[in-house]
Amino acid sequence: MSFHRSSSCLIVKMSGELDLSSASVFKERVDEELRKTGAANLILNLQGLDFVDSTGLGAILGRHRQITLGGGKMILTSVPPKVQSMLEMAGLFSVLQCERTDKDALQVIESPFQGGAPR
């Protein structure tokens, strides 16, 4: 997992597996980075995510709740097909916004019409 800050947005590049063992580390590190940077919006780049189960999806959804409660926006990018099918099965496509690239997601967040919270 690596972090990058771009204007009001924290970009997290995910890697490996997101399950019961790694979900708590994911939550702690993302929450800590959000606190440290003060970023209001979050992009989760899932390109390197090899495996996710319902615990991992719960951790992703938890970050979404947290960000939207603060008035920000969370977007998933580079979603691998197997993660996409898990999101579909969990009915999360109606809740979580997905974009092809980080650049596309940043454009959405920075758009004055549909964007996230500035900070």
Partner: protein, 143 residues
């Protein structure tokens, strides 16, 4: 030819991956597709996660993952996976199967739904104080 594996693990989060990788490797001989192997991994991950999260709230315990394959009829090409703990048990299985039902914050309550969707059959046997056994069966689609 019949084949069988059995793995007894301490109920800790890091063993969830151990269990799913072991079963996926074991199942590979049956000719499952890559996406079917992924489905098996998710189903095993969900079953073992449930044992880790719910079976032993007050201490340590074990979960046993048993898998069998059978090449010859009438069960040829079938993978059977059993995940068994001797922990707290499920008070209400029907309630636990309801999508979205969870007793833990930030958990989606979709574990049993995923097992049911990704495997061909799912049987849950449980009673309070007597542990839980989840039995799942899957056959390769292209057969």
């Amino acid at each position: 030819m019949k084949n069988e594996m059995s793995l007894t693990l301490l109920c800790v989060p890091s063993n969830v991956a151990v269990a799913r990788i072991a079963v996926a490797t074991f199942a590979a001989s049956l000719g499952f597709s890559v996406s079917e192997i992924e489905e098996i991994k998710v189903a095993v991950s969900e079953a073992v996660s449930n044992s880790v999260l719910h079976a032993y709230p007050h201490g340590e315990g074990e979960v046993t993952v048993r898998a069998t394959t059978e090449d010859s009829e009438p069960h040829g090409g079938e993978l059977v996976v059993e995940v068994r703990d001797t922990g707290a048990g499920i008070p209400d299985i029907a309630k636990a199967k309801e999508p979205g039902y969870s007793t833990i914050p930030e958990h989606m309550g979709l574990g049993l739904s995923f097992m049911e969707s990704f495997m061909d059959s799912l049987l849950v046997e449980s009673a309070p104080g007597k542990g839980t056994t989840v039995r799942m069966v899957k056959r390769p689609c292209r057969q």
